[in-house]
Subunit: 311 residues, 2 copies
Amino acid sequence: MENIIDKMIKKSIEKNTVLIVGLDPNLQNFPKFLTESINNDYKDPKNLEKIENAIFNFNKIVIDATFEHSLGIKPQLAYYEIFGSYGIKALERTIDYAKTKDLFIINDGKRGDIGSTSKVYAEAFLGDTLISGDMVTVNPYLGEDSYNPFIEYANKFNKGLFILVKTSNHSSKDIQDLIIKDKNEPVYIDLAKKLSEISNVNKGEYGYSSIGAVIGATYPKIVKKLRTILKHNAFLVPGYGFQGAKAADLKVCFDKNGNGAFIVSARSIIFSYLEKKYNKNISTLTEKEMTEIIKEKAIFSKDELNLTRFN
Amino acid sequence: MENIIDKMIKKSIEKNTVLIVGLDPNLQNFPKFLTESINNDYKDPKNLEKIENAIFNFNKIVIDATFEHSLGIKPQLAYYEIFGSYGIKALERTIDYAKTKDLFIINDGKRGDIGSTSKVYAEAFLGDTLISGDMVTVNPYLGEDSYNPFIEYANKFNKGLFILVKTSNHSSKDIQDLIIKDKNEPVYIDLAKKLSEISNVNKGEYGYSSIGAVIGATYPKIVKKLRTILKHNAFLVPGYGFQGAKAADLKVCFDKNGNGAFIVSARSIIFSYLEKKYNKNISTLTEKEMTEIIKEKAIFSKDELNLTRFN
């Protein structure tokens, strides 16, 4: 049966891209034309309605500029949650709009809780709800109770999840890199082995399970090692661009056919117009300029990633 | 300076209770009079509006029945998020209402991400926003990058956080109990020692930092050990009641004055009317009956906890 990763890989072949655009709508970086009458009062309904519209309009511009060159979007939920019900409304509208452009939706919430609660999160993000997408990121600190309900809902709705294994940030070492006594290997390897084991069911046509892994691109040696353990798990890879990982570092994420990994770029695409070389000012930037720069950066990123994965 | 834990302890002395009521509004357990015209379509705005009202009305009944006997509420965010913007609206209304009853609000989201994103979550839950409360639960799997922004915002707004150290569920052992090679102790002890170290700043009048810890009541021996390490960290303790921990097990959570821990009870209070001994049916249960049973259970829990902590 065609699972969610098959669908994503087929689409990535059709569109020739593995780029996922991270939608982290930080208002501070928005061009003035979107935020003109907005203030810092995050409790005032009138202001929050304007913020909801600004976020949706920002995301719409980004989606319009990038959808031909990207495979999906990854909304970072914190940036929506901060505006309460208004932010979540902007998320719902963004998800609806992205669906009209045939994009995959990966909700980046890093949720995870005791079993009965994880089940509710799983339904929220993988079931029939307003905020449901195709995939969701899951935090494994509470153990298998916390991710099993997501696997159950992924199977039920033919969707999937990406479990955090080794994250892109500096302090990911604090817990993830601790060496386990009896096994003489770090926590992230132990977790990877466990995930590899449970991923033998529901493998799709390309050999990948609907249980994926979040693997930060900022540690290429670790990525290489994890690729050999997580043979049947697609990677969701943050860290490319703004966080410092270069496209060349990403070669190790892919299988021999250049599949099996989806690469996220957020700030370096959606706020590309802030780069000095463009010499633009957010107070005067127009929608047309914004669109052109973002599109250019998306094409550049797509091409750079293709060069890496097919070389 | 009086920090958030001082405020909570003072109020707990004044009201003679350390009970936190967990608000996990699972519609399936609601009495019929609240859900009469609601169906299972979680995408239909009209239905979702009814769900928003049902959740708020349910929470209002629970708050009215318990506020004199409890210190605060702990909304479990999954149960709101599943209904998208409508669920979050119900959360906002619940938080507003709980404030009128002078209750502390602990948002149980178990959030945590790379630094730049955690900062946004921290502002969402501890800053000036619609969903902001007094405390928030934080998942440490991404290391100190993930909780430092919460500490920063807690300091800025005189609020606090509870970091997951040892959770109440069975599979908490999967990662939290792994024995670290060089230290010969489990991950949760290593984390506890680290948290203890960073909690030496901002200690309040009662000796507690605004950085608390989530410690599941289901492992009394571990709680006892953690109490000796986390000398200056208040505990948020889930697992009492429905999850199986008895009040007597909780003695070890408290300091010699019976302070330093806040005990959560969710299902066993808010859905107490489902207990067989009451012989009630949710199709016919009245608001008055519901209120009386919940109130009785809150009083029982408060008294049981007081007996434990002062004996």
